[in-house]
């Protein structure tokens, strides 16, 4: 089953205005750079973006904020982005902040075919307002959990290190982050990879995301892989 498409433009060609899309990555690490650039070029607007972060002013999802393509961000942390702050304060941008583990697990629930999860994150805080909760015994003690719903996304766009023509994916180091469960959670999942190989070249024991979850795959170009906080020590 060959899932290969030519490039990012073809992969995102049918993403329409007002759709909900998931984008993998943590900070600028493991983000689908090619598809973000293609979305900016295509100019689709009114997007709801589910992504842990919102990039920086001139890179990642920040590029789509500059062009006002995002109607709503669903994220856990959105610091380091002045344009984001401006749009949030002026009311141009809707933002739903949710705990990082809740974000990850709501993606996982989608990919596992479960409608909801129960998590203790946010109990007793403002994010619990209006949510169903339930008490369970944990180590013999009653503890409250919030019910959080699986995500429903039109597209998931992820970035992997290597992939094959069947859509099997392998991630590298901490660039894995949200990519595997977002890959499982899209109605249509697009994977861009640094290296695309013919089916059979990747060791089946080393696959992180089985190709069944991936609908389109292509080898990306010109990866910048920008570092957000360069911290080093002297030799």
């Amino acid at each position: 089953m060959n899932k290969t498409v030519k490039n990012a433009d073809e992969a995102i060609g049918d993403i329409k205005n007002n759709m909900t899309i998931m984008l993998g990555g943590f900070g600028l690490c493991g983000i689908p750079e090619n598809c973000i650039n293609a979305l900016v070029k295509k100019g689709v607007t009114g997007l709801t973006c589910i992504s842990n972060n919102a990039g920086v002013d001139d890179f990642g999802i920040g590029l789509m904020l500059q062009t006002r393509q995002v109607k709503k961000m669903i994220s856990s942390y959105v610091g380091e982005n002045a344009e984001f702050e401006r749009q949030l304060l002026s009311g141009e941008l809707e933002v739903e902040l949710i705990p990082q583990g809740t974000l990850a697990t709501r993606c996982l629930a989608s990919g596992y075919g479960m409608p909801a999860i129960f998590t203790p994150a946010g109990v007793g805080t403002e994010i619990a307002i209006g949510k169903e909760s339930r008490k369970f015994l944990v180590d013999g003690v009653e503890k409250e959990f919030l019910m959080e719903m699986a995500f429903d996304a039109d597209f998931a766009i992820v970035k992997a290190w290597k992939g094959d023509t069947q859509g099997n994916l392998i991630y590298r180091e901490t660039a894995r982050n949200f990519n595997p469960m977002m890959a499982m959670a899209g109605k249509i999942t697009i994977a861009e990879v640094e290296e695309l190989v013919p089916a059979g070249e990747l060791d089946p024991d080393h696959i992180h995301t089985p190709g069944i979850y991936v609908h389109r795959i292509f080898q990306g170009v010109n990866y910048e892989k920008r570092i957000e906080q360069l911290t080093v020590r002297k030799k």
Binding site: F26, G27, L28, C29, G30, N52, S75, S76, Y77, V78, G79, E80, E85, L88, L89, V95, L97, P99, Q100, G101, T102, L103, A104, T105, C107, L108, T119, P120, A121, G122, V123, G124, T125, E126, I127, W161, Y171, R172, E173, T174, A175, R176, N177, F178, N179, P180, M181, H208, K225, R226, I227, E228, Q229, L230, T231, V232, R233, K234, K235
Partner: protein
Amino acid sequence: MLDKIGIAKRIAKEIKDGYYVNLGIGIPTLVANYIPKGMNVVLQSENGLLGMGPFPFEGEEDSDLINAGKQTITTVPGSAFFDSAMSFGMIRARKVDLTILGAMEVSDNGDIANWKIPGKMVKGMGGAMDLVASAKNIIVAMQHVNKAGESKLLTKCSLPLTGVGCVKKIVTELAVIDVTPHGFRLLERAPGISVQEIENATEGRLIIEGDIPEMIID
């Protein structure tokens, strides 16, 4: 009075051999530098790594290898990568022994506020709500008073909460304090700081029993 490094050094004394530890951004990150030599401790970074090492040498940084503060890092022998769902799975399942994080306010029943100041910029809670809701042991590294001189150790938090009844211990520039069912309990004073000074800087209930020793840092 302790500086940031002093707070980090004092917190490092709470770490035990064999611990899996999650360090938050800021002072907690510094704690890694003061874990006693020879102690076998594994640092968890919630973006998907067990076995976080020091910053890379100049020129050896890898954009695929960062910590939860988005800083370039390294791994140590025996490390493992995983995805964000598993990362918060091990946190939720209480596999992580100790969580060290910063706070804007803590109340004397262990509530913590550290993610939002209404009317000002909201950057988000990141993983903090997940961590505080599940951690077995939470130590907060913070300043005792804010820039306006107001106590950050309160009867009740004024800022939106990150979690309720979860903080176990607080280390500030002035004191080491346990959070008990009856309020804050003063355990140690920072070098040169009197019990009276700590009382004055603490708005929440503060239990002072017997002689309060000065902390030993080095």
